[in-house]
Structure formats: structure tokens, C-alpha cells
Amino acid sequence: MVNLEYQRATTVADAIRLGAEPGSAFIGGGTNLIDLMKGGVANPRRLIDVSALPLAAIAPLPGGGLRIGAMARNSDVANDRLVRERYPLLSQALLAGASPQLRNMATVGGNLMQRTRCYYFYDTAFDACNKRRPGSGCAARDGHNRIHAVLGASEQCVATQPSDMNVALAALRATVVVQGRSGERRIPMQDFHRLPGDSPHIDTTLGADELIVAVDLPANAFAPHSHYLKIRDRASYAFALVSVAAALEMRDGVVQDAGLVLGGVAHKPWRVVAAEQALIGKPLGPDTIAAVSRSVLQGARPLEHNAFKIPLADQAIARALRIAGGLT
């Protein structure tokens, strides 16, 4: 790791000012950034420590809903009484990710900014990675691409977003609250992460002078009928090959509202609004589930080594919906 400067921000305004300077990077829990710095993938000249900012509270919003401070640790969010009561899907997703030690460190803001786990992005021995070095090519497209994207990928990048938390936040229709020099901005979770297109080095729509300060969860009635299903190579402490966040509001066996998002398959949490709407007003039968799954996976294109993800996702969607709906 190259030497660098370190500064602890004492106020949000302070952090935004320092963070906007070239070569600066925010550090929260550090679990991803320090790893990337050790590998020479991230090379900030100055770290702005935002972990001590007063942004760790989890508190109800007026009119229902919940605000989670950006510096709340992943374990504190997963353990929080209100989160477990009202948004158990979020607790489940957080507890499915990383290890207890890492969850004790990682922040909500940092998790939103988590970078891909593509082997070629992580290993500087490979020259070609458009995400790491724009214009250098993509070694994964014709390389070892078992963990890579089957949806929304581009010629330039087939990386996936690795976070579990982000998948649940998308299903719960969270809003990312950011602050910049020109004030506050509210970004719907759906628009926070972007598809790679021809600029895969940009993961999110966060501005260079902006700091994530909170995540707002709207009030909903998903708590009794939600499920986070994570499929991975070992039972714990591994990234998802495919994951599904399923959230349903049910009345008399009929779906009133639905959130359905896939993880591990694209550059962002994969949400197809039309598929969610196709569930509404129907009982959760096999035909409905099959049609919804087809709609979510429409346009899926496998690479050489990840074709298994498409039937896996199809079956994971069905299982997550059945568990969420109380059918199994």
C-alpha cells in the first residue's frame, strides 16, 4: 500500500469539502477500500475518515418509514429492533453477507459503494479491465467468467454488483440521501447503481462532491411476507452467485404489492418493475410465478462459464416467492 495522508472529518460539510479534492477518498469501515488499496487497485492520495461523523442513527421517519444513517454499521442495522420488525428482508440480506467481523466494520454508505469482485478487476497482473483502466479491454468476457453478469452487461464490462444489502434495499424501494456542495439530493435505489455501458469505471450516480448521509426506507406492509434467498458456493461467508429479494404484501392469498430484485447477475440490483406489477392482483400460483420469472430474466445472455445462472435464477425466483408468500 502506498503512503498517503489521513484526515478525520468532523462535520458533513468538512467531509464534502475535503472529499471533493482530487486524490481524496472517503473511508468508512474500510473493509473494501483497504483491500483494494493493498492490491493496488485503489490508490487514493488522501483518506477522509467519515466513520466518526454523527450519521449512525437508525430512527423512524415522520409518517412511517425509517432512516438509516450512512455510518451505521451493517451489524447494527441487521440487529436493530425496528429493522427486524418492519424490514426483516434487510436484516436477512445483511446477515447473509460477509462475516460477523466484517459486518461489525462495514457501513451502510460503504456497502452501497462496494465495488465488484470480478477477479480481473481485483488483480493488477491483468492489464485488461475497463473498470480499473478505462479503454484497456475486458479480460473477463473471454476469460474465467463463472461469477459474472448475465443481464445488463456491455461489451466493455460483465462485472456484477456484489452487495446483498443493495438487493434488499432495491426491493424495499429505498432512497439514498446524499449531500453535496449544492445541498441535498435524494436518489431512488433503482437509479443509484448504473449499468456499465461504455463507462464501466463509474459504478454509481453519486457525484464527486457528494457524500451519502442516509438511506430512507418507506413505510410498507412487506414484513410478514418477505424473503432473501442467497445461492453461493459454500454455506456461509461467500458472495452470491444468484440472490433474490422477494417482498410481498398479501391479502386473502392475493398479492397487493410486490418487490422482486435479483442480485449477483448484473452491474446493479436487477429490478424489473413490470414483473413486480405482474404479480399484483393475482394469487401466487405456479403459472404467475413462472411468468414473472420469465419477465425478470428476459434478455439474459450467458457467457462461456455462467450459463447455469439463468436456470438457477429462475428457480431461485420461484423459491423465494413461494417462501415469501408462505407457500412452502
Binding site: N3, I34, K38, L47, E85, N104, S236
Partner: protein, 220 residues
């Protein structure tokens, strides 16, 4: 266990340090004086970013001179001279470096020492001594919960914090209902909650038994 490190006699560490280990330490700008926190520290090559960082480790105050890029793990081992905490992968994948910061278990390899100014840090040396082992250390000995022992300090620190988390009602991915009160610690729960600590010798069965014996003595 770590008796060898704690004893003053000839140890594996002494031998290593007098040979190639000392070369590596010098290359990293760490002098023998820096390894002794009571002595004034003098970096071999002054760096503009070196700063004084006060850490509280196992109840004792340390004032270390270090660059911001120094991880908490390297500060604990190379500067505070506490070698019980182990460096395995150094990338947050194995848990060998697990220490407690303000009672919470974390990976010391993925955080910077400078970020923990004023924090209360507990390493394996702070849990017990060879003469008075912590109950978890005792349980690892009694259950033969290790083979090479390299992951053991991290396993024990992790297990001690894990029991506290369970006592405080924190759920895990093995908990079936997040909205129900916490059930007793099943073996499945122990395995899930200890999944951040890898053991390449594969001593998992006995590690689970050791943790279980401390969590619920009547079941063992």
C-alpha cells in the same frame, strides 16, 4: 497456544527475529526500539505523514509513531509487540487477525490503526494468561480445538465476542425468525456465527465443541 510468545525464554519468535525476521522489520522501517512501546520510537526514515497515535491495548496505553497506512494488525504486532494476533491472509478473508475493539470483533487487517485512536482494543493476550486462562482458552485446550494453532487466537477472540452477541439477542443467518426472541445456541448457529474464522487444519468439529462447552456447559 501462545505460551511460547508470552514466555521470556528462547521462543520461535526470538529465533525468527534474529534471522530473516529482523531484516524484514528493518525494511519496513521498524526498529527494535519501536517494538518496545515504552522506549522512544525513532523511525529509520522520517516520513512527513508519521504521526503519534495513542492506542489502548489490553488496558495499557501505547503511543505509537506510525504512518496512516499502517493497519491495526501491523501496529499491534510490529509496533506494540503483541504477536498473539496473527496475520493470515491480510485481506479480510480468514479471521486470523480478529481482535475486539470496544468489545466488538473486527478484522484488524482491514482497518487502519490511526482510525482507532482512543479505542479499547483487546487481543488474545488480554483475555487470559498462561497461568490464568480465559474460559474459552481453557475450552479450546480441553477440546483439542486446534492443530497447528495459527488461527486459534482469532478463533478465541471471535468466539468470546460471539457469545456476547448471542446473549444480547443478535440474530444470525441461521436464525429462522428474526422477529422472534433468540433461541439457544445450536451447533448450526455456532458454525454460522463462527464462519468468519477459517481453520486450514479443519479443526472445526472440536472448535464447535469448545464453543458449545462455554456457551452451554450442561450440554457437554
Amino acid at each position: 497456544m501462545d505460551d511460547r510468545d508470552a514466555n521470556n525464554g528462547i521462543s520461535r519468535r526470538t529465533v525468527l527475529q534474529s534471522a530473516s525476521g529482523s531484516a524484514a522489520l528493518c525494511a519496513a522501517g521498524v526498529t527494535a526500539q519501536q517494538a518496545e512501546p515504552a522506549m522512544p520510537a525513532a523511525p529509520a526514515e522520517p516520513s512527513a505523514t508519521v504521526r503519534s497515535v495513542a492506542l489502548r491495548i489490553n488496558g495499557r496505553g501505547y503511543t505509537l509513531k506510525l504512518e496512516p497506512r499502517v493497519t491495526l494488525l501491523d501496529a499491534i504486532r510490529e509496533q506494540a509487540g503483541l504477536y498473539g494476533t496473527k496475520k493470515g491472509c491480510d485481506r479480510g478473508q480468514c479471521g486470523a487477525c480478529t481482535v475486539l475493539v470496544n468489545g466488538r470483533r473486527i478484522n484488524a487487517c482491514l482497518t487502519l490503526a490511526v482510525m482507532h485512536e482512543g479505542a479499547d482494543i483487546t487481543t488474545i493476550e488480554g483475555l487470559g494468561t498462561p497461568q490464568a486462562l480465559h474460559p474459552m482458552q481453557q475450552a479450546f485446550v480441553e477440546n483439542d480445538a486446534f492443530q497447528c494453532g495459527y488461527c486459534t487466537p482469532g478463533q478465541i477472540c471471535s468466539a468470546v465476542a460471539m457469545l456476547g452477541e448471542h446473549r444480547n439477542g443478535h440474530p444470525s443467518a441461521a436464525s429462522t425468525d428474526l422477529r422472534a426472541p433468540m433461541a439457544a445456541l445450536s451447533d448450526e448457529e455456532i458454525r454460522e456465527r463462527m464462519s468468519g474464522n477459517l481453520c486450514r487444519c479443519g479443526a472445526y468439529t472440536n472448535i464447535v465443541a469448545a464453543v458449545r462447552s462455554v456457551a452451554a456447559p450442561s450440554r457437554s
